[in-house]
Amino acid sequence: MQPVKYKRATSVAEAVSLLQGGGEFARPLAGGTDVIVQARERRRDIDLFVDIKHIPELMAISHDANGVTIGAAVPLHLVYGDAKIVSQWPAVTEAAHVIGGTAIQGRATLGGNLCNSSPAADSIPAMMVLDAVAHIAGPNGKRDVSVREFCTAPGRNVLALGEFVVSISLPKPPAGSGGAWQRFIPRNEMDIAVVNAGVWVQLDGANVTDARFALGAVAPTPIMVPAAAEALIGKPLSDATIAAAGDAAKAAAKPIDDMRGSVKQRKHLAKVLTERTLRHAIERARGQA
């Protein structure tokens, strides 16, 4: 482990000032499942951990009429342990449930998954299709950024010096809609996604009135696939329209070859997963799953 100092923040303001004071080499410490390993393997230059788990807002889950706000440092096991989140935003809890293993989920957070900004991060496509918003605090006060616009490059995001994510909101899904998330990994657990996919659909009978598609691990950041939505919106559901959405996903995927997957494999999986996830989302929209 490189020399890293540890400081505990107990309020948002304190965290902002510690982060600002620490400069470019200071990092929030949420679950630490990315950042501790990165510091140990000297893969990222880090001087200071600011532990954000003792800030009340960061550890709270609050439900209201508009949806839910999840503190950025709430560990995943509490996210999928919240029955309301599971029933209303299953796409997110599906992802939360398979990030790492049980011991990782005891610590890892949605905030950390988002801010680590890996192209393969599992929860991000799920949050993207659910219109999630990140609430950010920083030296210049607060601002909100859609999760869709959050990541800018592998390991990079919109956060400026001294800024951090306080919480993430998921708006209440309208009736008749459904979301789902899936990934492909070679093992059944403990693997980084070769491709992952989030889908959300709004149905009116057999017609799709709205849809959102997102893919991970097929581009430098998780991406939205508007073309897949266009292939579906306003059309009746059929194998053909589902396949068209899958084809659009495949076309939108611009993956790289790396040790976890090849271009050919990933493009193909983008289609397969999009279609499978879409079918699952449709079942949910119909109240069947």
Binding site: Q2, P186, N188, M190, I192, M259, R260, K264
Partner: protein, 758 residues
């Protein structure tokens, strides 16, 4: 399920007692190598090469040495003279001392990514790691070669300037006087291959490649060494062979063996990968320089980069059979990479390849080739999984072409007692036929496979099993218990299996025997725990100790009763019987030993060069997801001739563990190198060993065909279960989706890319 050929009544053998070291291992008290703590101990770290192949132009350690807390830095220079070309016996493998030394710390060249270059000792682990960044090594990067076939080309970069091809093949055309990467070309011939092929009605010939697979033990290599001012060296380490480590240390540090004591700590898995030395000499050199004990352990990444893997191979296998299924001829071409220094397990692979079958005409040709990868180490049935995968896959194809049930085809050709093996020696009593019969009649084989894209595959496997030298001693305690002192390190229950054999011999219970593994100063020379030899050879010694104790107990009872010793018998109930129904229990007599001539202590060293070959037959059902290429194992049955199952639970466990490793090799495990020869996936996240929810329960059937060369009929059980999975799974995937794969692992990516429409 246990099926016994000729039931023999044992009291302890065949039961399932709780192992003697169990409680310490479930309470966290058991001391493994990295748990070592010594007064004044320093912490070490090792700097490793970022390049696959480079000349070390210079190493500047001054900045590192200047870091507060750093006590010493060592490089290859600290070995002093270069070790000679003498051979160190590592049990399942051997190593030339000079190569071993160059592997431990690179001399003038680094030969693979992760090759150790320097070691640091500091007062704190963090400081030792910080110091690594301050060591300035200048490299001249050289072209590298990782693929075995490329390494064999004349144009390949040469790794070792002094290496020349050793030829043990009649018709070799390879030069023996030119620099090369081919360390050995050998061939084994029996009968007349051409004639055999001419007699065949059907011939199948296929090419195969298998990857590098790591043993994947969960405990990284470690060593703590103290080089005392009087020149005595003590090393605490997790090793499969305390005595082989001592020999290697002596050769590398140029110290007589009498000055070295190896204390074997609990060992967190080895599978062949912990036979050699890696950190022990570095820790010793650091200790000599600092005067303190120094502890080192490897990062997981270093374990992948610089230890372990088994050889990647390129193979061609050709087999011919008559219409009725009789095998007439067989040829195998086996090229095994050895990593950066010679010594792949190709020879064992060659001898195992056709061992399950009686094939009169056969030739096996083999090559041992160096590449810019980690020096390969033994891995469970070293060499056999690859060559037998190729042969079994060809046998399955022959069965299909001949339209003969694949198990039936194997039965028709099965090796039996007396069948000459590949080197012409007749097999002793073996259980190949029994295993194949059991496969055929197993309900799994008869069951119906249902569902889409599901398939079934079968394959068999063979492994010699080792014997070799073991030593132990035993002492009778006054309360009627017996202390058993073992030279074999225990990697998975051998304390239990050896204590059980002594208890059986003495007619005592398992609780009456207290086994303990001791250091190299405290017991006679003992070969490594490997080659499935420990329960076999160590059991021989335990039996011998038991017989000596029985004899002495008899004599002692005779003295007490004042009768002739030949009037006294030692009963299988563990009691001593004299004339006139005189009888004394073992415990009673033990209590009187001190007062009647002294306590009894015995020792024995035996070399057993007999083999108790093992056969295994596996049946697997699986399902392929055609859209993703993912394979799900639905059902797995492993049938094996285990000789006698001393502790059936641990025999089953060995089989299940071997199967799981074999499944990993077949489906997902692989070494991935980038364009610069750097290992990309040196972590448990990306070197994908099976996790708990990747596997079903693994059913085992223990066939007991006792080994006539052992008092309890023991055959080694640990290695052969890793042999059949690759071929069985390859066949099952073909059965499911109609595509045969000749390259492992058969990963989702490979399946998808092969079967996907463009």
């Amino acid at each position: 399920m246990v099926s016994t050929e000729k039931p023999r009544q044992y009291k302890v053998v065949g039961t399932r007692p709780i192992r003697p070291d169990g409680v310490d291992k479930v309470t966290g008290r058991a001391a493994y190598g990295a748990d070592t703590k010594a007064e004044g101990m320093l912490f070490g770290a090792v700097l490793r090469s970022p390049h696959a192949h480079a000349i070390i132009k210079s190493i500047d350690t001054s900045k590192a040495e200047a870091l507060p807390g750093v006590k010493a830095v060592v490089t290859a220079r600290d070995f002093g003279a270069h070790a000679g070309g003498g051979v160190v016996d590592l049990g399942e493998t051997r190593g030339q001392a000079n190569y071993m030394q160059d592997n431990v710390l690179a001399n003038h060249k680094v030969l693979y990514h992760g090759h150790a270059v320097a070691g640091v000792a500091a007062t704190d682990q963090h400081i030792a790691e910080d110091a690594l960044a301050l060591i300035d090594v200048q490299y001249e990067v050289l072209p590298f070669v990782i693929d075995v076939r490329e390494a064999m080309l004349d144009t390949a970069p040469i790794l070792l300037d002094d290496l020349r091809t050793t030829v043990r093949a009649a018709n070799s055309t390879l030069p023996t006087d030119k620099p090369t990467n081919i360390a050995l070309h050998m061939s084994l011939e029996k009968g007349d291959l051409e004639k055999g092929m001419a007699e065949a009605d059907v011939i199948v010939e296929r090419e195969f490649e298998t990857g590098m697979f790591h043993q994947g033990y969960i405990e990284p290599q470690n060593a703590t060494a103290f080089w005392n001012r009087d020149g005595e060296i003590t090393v605490w380490t997790s090793t499969q062979g305390a005595f082989s480590v001592r020999d290697a240390m002596a050769a590398l540090c140029k110290v007589p063996v009498s000055k070295i004591k190896i204390v074997p700590m609990e060992i967190g898995g080895g599978f062949g990968g912990k036979l050699g030395v890696y950190l022990e000499p570095i820790a010793a050199l650091l200790s000599r320089k600092t005067g303190h004990p120094v502890k080192l352990w490897m990062t997981r990444e270093a374990v992948f980069q610089a230890t372990g893997p088994t050889s990647a191979t390129y193979m061609r296998v050709k087999m011919g059979a008559k219409r009725d299924g009789t095998f007439t001829g067989a040829y195998a071409y086996l090229a095994y990479e050895a990593g950066a220094f010679p010594g792949s397990p190709m020879g064992a692979g060659a001898q195992c390849a056709f061992a399950p079958y009686n094939i009169p005409n056969q030739t096996v040709e083999g090559f041992d080739v160096v590449i810019n990868g980690p020096k390969t180490a033994a891995y469970r049935a070293p060499g056999a999984p690859a060559s037998e995968f190729a042969v079994e896959a060809v046998v399955n194809e022959l069965a299909e072409q001949l339209e003969i049930d694949p198990i039936e085809l194997r039965l028709r050709n099965a090796s039996k007692e007396g069948t000459p093996n590949t080197v012409g020696q007749p097999f002793p009593r073996i259980g190949a036929v029994e295993v194949m019969d059991a496969m055929k009649s197993h309900p799994h084989y008869a069951s119906e496979l249902t569902g889409e894209d599901v398939g079934r595959g079968v394959a068999v496997g063979f492994w010699f099993n080792g014997g070799m030298e073991s030593s132990s001693s035993a002492a009778v305690n006054s309360d009627g218990t017996v202390s058993l002192i073992l030279g074999s390190t225990d990697i998975g229950g051998s304390r239990a299996s050896l204590a059980m054999q002594l208890a059986e011999t003495l007619g005592l219970t398992m609780d009456d025997v207290k086994p303990q593994v001791v250091d190299t100063d405290s017991v006679g020379w003992t070969h490594v725990t490997g080659g499935s030899r420990t329960t076999f050879a160590g059991g021989w010694v335990a039996y011998e100790l038991g017989m000596q104790i029985r004899e002495q107990m008899r004599e002692r009872a005779a003295q007490i009763w004042e009768v002739d010793a030949d009037k006294v018998t030692y009963g299988d109930d563990g009691a001593i019987h004299g004339p006139d129904s005189k009888t004394m229990s073992f415990a009673e007599l033990s209590g009187q030993l001190a007062a009647t001539g002294g306590r009894i202590a015995v020792s024995a060293s035996l070399t057993k060069n007999t083999q108790g070959p093992a056969y295994a037959g596996h049946i697997v059902d699986l399902k392929v997801d055609r859209d993703t290429g993912k394979v799900e194992i639905l059902r797995y049955t492993a049938i094996q001739d285990v000789g006698t199952a001393i502790h059936p639970s641990y025999v089953e466990g060995q089989i299940q563990g071997g199967v799981a490793q074999g499944i990993g090799m077949a489906l997902n495990e692989e070494y991935i190198y980038d364009d610069e020869g750097r290992l990309r996936n040196g972590s448990f996240l990306d070197y994908r060993m099976p996790v708990a929810n990747d596997l079903p329960m693994i059913d085992t059937v223990l066939i007991e065909v006792p080994n006539p060369g052992h008092p309890y009929g023991v055959r080694g059980v640990g290695e052969v279960p890793i042999v059949p999975p690759m071929a069985a799974i390859q066949q099952a995937i073909y059965d499911a989706i109609g595509t045969r794969f000749y390259v492992t692992p058969i990963s989702p990516r490979r399946i998808l890319e092969e079967t996907m429409p463009d």
